[in-house]
Symmetry: C2
């Protein structure tokens, strides 16, 4: 899809016209939610937001000049979008910057392998590591390997991640990337490769952060593209294989990241906050369109439509574009910086699963049988969205620490069947986003956020009662 020339937005004008005949106060909350939804479906502000972010900023690796440029751009963009207050705040991080990453089969048949270093990986020497590989078709096979059994070898895990709609397989496979390097090192391995946590069959490796354990040597670690992992499976089935690996990432312990926030002051209970967020940083291989530029466009696009309502909803609405999520800083850093605010956050939600359509939503615990949820379900059903049976528990790394501090959450569930074809790869670019599906997201978030900010429910009390 090409989108070089996108016509100017007319969403706000449409909304103002839609709301004009029946001024607020005459319209019911449900009627306003319906109008927000229908306006969002015809609006292209979010799509243009995403196009501009991914085109004029591009990749936004945490702690780099590019992430700072994204924060500056986002602050300026939100300031011109009708919010009451917009600001940036910084926090310190250790930045990790990719260097050269080269891998090849040295013997029996020389050939190039496509890899990408795991975020946080230590470097090899500039000349690289050359060693025999030990292939494990299952991660559990690696865990069963005896201490010392991988001495001097490059451990390779080729377990495949299943394709599922809600992305649950990613959580199940995550230890392969997060814990694999240390588990291999404990058994003597000098480097670690794993089949990308991806469902595609392209020669593009999937990046992602790893976590070294304190009690294991830190060994260089990278993901293989799926076809390259299969090639090693086939070669290893024939005999010994020697692989060369060169990774030269660097770290900067004095870097900083940014959070960008925008608020719509509540008209009746401004001290109560409904917080919706997404993360602004991205991996460096693509331009972060589905992860998580889309989420930024969704929460900002939804809030922008609500900002145009007069009077504003009862509660304050805050949009947060988090920094350094991919490097595991965003949620803890925000929760720490805003610890004293946590008791005032009535409800939180996060969009970080791409740009495909939403097919379900999850009510806050104890809230399923409330007018808020009934009204929301009525608004979302025409968008092909149903109320899931289970309540929302946690909906992403950005708000998890707030949730742990007692903030109730609500969640949208997106179609993620092909999310892990693209996730964390060079393929995460603007052309992958369908404008109609993005608009469906914004429509659902606008309705949900408006109704939550307008609601008189005490979600904390409902959650507390539900847990008894």
């Amino acid at each position: 899809m090409r989108a070089t020339h996108i016509p100017a937005a007319c969403g706000l004008a449409l909304l103002l016209i839609a709301l004009a005949p029946t001024a607020r106060g005459q319209d019911s909350d449900a009627a306003i939610a319906h109008k927000l939804r229908d306006t969002a479906l015809k609006d292209d502000w979010g799509y243009r937001f995403l196009e501009t972010l991914t085109t004029t900023v591009g990749q936004r690796l945490a702690g780099t000049e590019a992430e700072a440029r994204a924060a500056t751009w986002a602050e300026a963009t939100l300031k011109s979008a009708g919010f009451d207050e917009v600001h940036r705040e910084s926090f310190p991080i250790t930045a990790w910057v990719r260097g050269r990453e080269e891998a090849s089969v040295v013997s029996p048949s020389p050939q190039r392998l496509v890899v990408t270093a795991l975020g946080g990986s230590v470097a090899t020497t500039p000349e690289g590591i050359t060693a025999e590989i030990a292939v494990f078709h299952l991660y559990s096979d690696l865990l069963r390997a005896a201490p010392g059994s991988l001495a001097g070898k490059i451990a390779v895990v080729t377990e495949a991640m299943p394709r599922v709609m809600d992305g649950a397989s990613y959580g199940a496979a995550n230890p392969i990337r997060r814990l694999g390097p240390s588990e291999a090192a404990k058994r003597g391995a000098i480097a670690y490769l794993h089949r990308s946590l991806g469902t595609d069959n392209h020669r593009l490796a999937h990046a992602g952060a790893t976590n070294y354990e304190a009690d294991a040597p830190r060994i260089p670690a990278a993901a293989l593209s799926v076809p390259d992992a299969e090639q090693l499976d086939r070669l290893a089935a024939r005999g010994k294989v020697r692989v060369k690996l060169v990774l030269t990432p660097t770290e900067d312990a004095s870097a900083k990241s940014w959070t960008v926030s925008a608020e719509i002051k509540g008209s009746e209970r401004p001290d109560e906050i409904v917080l919706i967020g997404a993360h602004l940083d991205s991996w460096d291989l693509g331009t972060g369109a589905i992860d998580d530029g889309a989420g930024d466009a969704i929460v900002a696009g939804a809030a922008r439509l609500i900002a145009a309502l007069k009077p504003h909803p009862k509660r304050t609405l805050r949009v947060v574009l988090f920094g350094a999520e991919e490097m595991n800083y965003s949620g803890p850093a925000y929760a720490k910086m805003h610890a004293e605010e946590a008791p005032h956050i009535a409800l939180a939600a996060e969009s970080d699963f791409g740009a495909r359509n939403i097919y379900a939503f999850l009510a806050p615990p104890g809230a399923a049988e409330t007018p808020f949820i009934h009204s929301l379900a009525d608004t979302l059903t025409p968008l092909g969205i149903f109320l899931a049976r289970e309540p929302a528990q946690n909906s992403g790394d950005d708000i998890a620490p707030l949730h742990a501090a007692g903030v109730p959450v609500i969640a949208m569930r997106q179609n993620g069947l092909d999310y892990f074809d693209i996730h964390h790869t060079a393929d995460d670019t603007f052309d992958k986003v369908d404008p109609h599906e993005l608009a469906q997201n914004i429509a659902a978030w606008a309705a949900m956020t408006y109704l939550a900010a307008q609601s008189d429910l005490d979600f904390r009390k409902l959650a507390a009662n539900a847990s008894h």
Copy 2:
């Protein structure tokens, strides 16, 4: 798809059993063609041939050690496959070997671009070229640009290639890659980039040879991945864009390439040859599974089943695995080396369009209403293959010079809807091939080749009569 463990072939055994009850001579030619077809559908020799070639050799760039390794492997493999005679022959070529290839937007917003050098491209200096780009949405816009108008600029053509089933759009788009660099240079450009001749949306550029014209400066030339070309479209719509390009390919004018041939001697007219071919070399980015390892597997797999027939078909059957097709040497080199044989080649055909199913076949000129074609159509209809209305004219670069020297051709038409998603990219790997579709190809080629070799028709005379 994973294919680490493929069970041993049982195709030949099946064929021998199938043919046993009714020895040749009792069976009609049509009955034998049907049995060849049905045996091929159950046989996995071709799939294993392709798996081994792409795994143990990998990429096979013309004139390199890897192509020579492929020729050695192919000769040994065909020698063990029941042919009467197998041999290699070499011919001189200038090899072109890829170096570094890096591109990035320098301003307004620094970001990496995915490119791959065109085959035959000259190098930049090691420091690269940095210049403003001039974007042309259509190649014809570049051709309309005035001499000198691109002085000091990098010309960028972003025209998209349509997705069509028979691949005809590739021929239409080919001048963009073949002629674009010289056309841009004539107008003053100092480098040339074009949107890959591909139908995918991945961050993988499509390689391919270019041809410099004698009357234009030779400028460095590369293909952009499709998303990167679209990114430049979007950036250029906003203002001036400066791009840096580094290409460091090298040439070796004293290289050689190889042709591997295998024959089944004709039982009645051994001096008449039916020649079927594919090319053994590949681009260096992938492992040449669909281009053209699949073709190698198809023609070798079909001929191997025919080699098991006793007595052999009347005419001699020759399988040719051509060398250096991607660098434009294969057809001319073979036609030159075998010029004296051309009058004895009764019919030729080539498989070089991937591994998807065949859906049509094209009769040699003047042969549509012959028992050979009627019998072939009867055999192929159950495979979902119909007789196309138009006669075969030319079916690929390997046999075009033979055809020009008077050799009649027959052709199979494959489903190429997604061929140019993968063609000439790093994605051209074994996992992209469906074993059932590959077997359908081998079945059709076995039947076609057998009936042609067994036929008494003089295809040259039919073609001559048809042209009057």
